[in-house]
């Protein structure tokens, strides 16, 4: 049966981002997801094309099969149907051991090498705004084979210099000097990969295999490559654009709104006019 895609008036940006993120998952992968849209995306994948994915929540749920979306990773809903429910030491040890294929994360700022900031805006020693801090963002990003970031797209957030590198991209700082080196150099035997995509409210971005530099892969419907380039403070590579981001299917929308998040805790429903 051919997939029935929704028309633009039937879905919102959050739906589109969730579906784009879900499509990054392959069946049988071990996936580590944080609270919010990442959680909806991964459970959408679990209920569509990746029924055998293994879901890890940082607070201590291993291979979870929650029937509905948890409100956060500490939620009692996380561990329904799990292989094991324990704690953070297990979750992070499993990640460091190399079991994790894919991590889903968020971020406040990203640079052109996929370094992400969730710590502060402005100088760390005199911040304009202190944010939540790292949480498990750098840990999942250090240990997973691929990571996908889901972010709000504002020009100030797509910057050549993030205020603070919370989570490691493809070119990272080598301490004590702080000179930039390729991530492979630093991680040695623990090198498994790095950021593979950024899904923003404007489009889907990927990273050049050699240079580690970000490029625009698909534009969300209604956006042009030139517009998205204008929405970044760094010089965005738009030479490899691969058309538009696929819209959500009707089935995906049904699962998001009727099965996973009927209370609209993370994904608002589009009001039909």
């Amino acid at each position: 049966m051919a997939t029935e895609y929704a028309t633009p008036e039937e879905y919102g940006l959050a739906d589109l981002m969730c579906c784009a993120a879900a499509r990054e998952v392959q069946d049988n992968e071990v996936v580590f997801a944080g609270t919010g849209l990442p959680m909806v995306a991964i459970m959408l994948a679990q209920k569509t094309h990746a029924p055998n994915l293994k879901l890890i929540f940082e607070a201590g749920t291993l291979d979870g099969r929650p029937p509905e979306i948890p409100t956060s990773v500490g939620d009692a809903r996380c561990e329904m149907g799990a292989s094991r429910s324990s704690g953070l030491y297990d979750a992070f040890s499993i990640a460091q051991r190399g079991y994790v294929d894919l991590g889903f994360l968020g971020g406040a700022e990203v640079d052109e090498y996929g370094n992400v900031n969730t710590t502060c805006i402005g100088d760390y020693l005199n911040p304009e705004l202190r944010l939540t801090g790292s949480g498990g963002n750098p840990d999942i990003n250090s240990f997973a084979k691929r990571t996908v970031f889901i972010m709000v797209h504002e020009k100030r957030r797509f910057t050549p210099n993030v205020s603070y590198i919370t989570s490691p991209g493809w070119r990272v700082k080598k301490w004590p000097g702080g000179e930039f080196v390729h991530r492979r150099e630093l991680y040695g035997a623990a090198y498994r990969g790095g950021p593979s995509a950024v899904i923003s409210t404007a489009g889907v971005f990927r990273f050049n295999e050699l240079s580690g530099k970000i490029y625009l892969d698909t534009c969300h419907p209604g956006k042009t490559p030139a517009e998205i380039k204008e929405m970044c403070f760094f010089d965005l590579d738009i030479s490899r654009v691969n058309g538009e981001t696929l819209p959500p299917s009707r089935e995906e929308l049904y699962i998001i709104h009727e099965v996973l998040d009927p209370e609209q805790i993370f994904v608002p429903k589009v009001k039909k006019g």
């Binding site: 500490g74 704690g87 991680y187």
Partner: protein
Amino acid sequence: MSNDKRISLQQAAEIIKDGSSLTFSGFTIWRRPMAIVYELIRQHRKNLHLIEVQGGSHTEFLIGAGCVDIWESCWVGHELYGKYGANLSRKVADKQIIVEDYSHAEMMFRFAAAASGAPYAVTQTSLGTDLHNPEYDMLGRAGLRDGKRIAKHKYQFTEDPFFGAGSQVLIPAAKVDIAVMCVQQVGEEGTVRVNGQYYSDPEVARAADITIVMAEEIVPEEYLRRNADQNTIVSFEVDHILECPFGAHPTGMFGRYDVDGPFLKDFYGRTRTQEGFDDFAREWIHGQDHMSYLEKLGWPRMLKLRANTALNYSVRDKGGK
């Protein structure tokens, strides 16, 4: 001294002295020892050093109330009920608090090291990030790294001497005076049974010099010992126990009650300013005790949060909706 480990809520807070280092049970907005946190605020505790695997709503209450000088952790916020820690942000901007940032796994491994009596842990997480920027060693900048309770260095870097696996980060054990826990059940002798994800509770209880356990219920020790494989924390790791129903509110407790989302949203919305925090504390903390607090919340609210015993979460309330 008697073997009786029972203490009152007031006594639990009195054990925690000005200047103590503290850590907690739970995860972000789940199973935080809120009743003791409120009591610490009522008793005007000062100069605390929080060392936590990750922060949450309890952190924001203590910081807003001016109880905390140093916060050493990786994350603070109220999950979907408040996107960052507004009290921490305000005090960081005003330089009223020292923040020492580590990553989440680093904090976890630091507690695991302390819990096994090791001076440090080794990991490869967060290489190449500003977490390892030597300029951002805030306890070092403040001249507090005495090598006693606070490690001489924030990090040390080394190469794997055994298998040639490359750069390694050494992170100091999290040496902490007191762990304040909030759990479902504790036995009369201190055995703890946590239901649901136990987060980092076994490690933080073992790492701390003194462990205080506040439980929804104190149960016969013999009941817990019938199924020792289901217990989480060993009796002799626990120094003091107390029973305090709904002691985690407004945070949630697996199998007992959900997070009170509207309460946390209200707290987050109202405590962006110090005046707002003080006003909130006057309404909900000062001049109250735990029973009057519960009375003020009221039965309908608590029943809405009460977990379904088959599912372990509330079916009347989700995310405050």
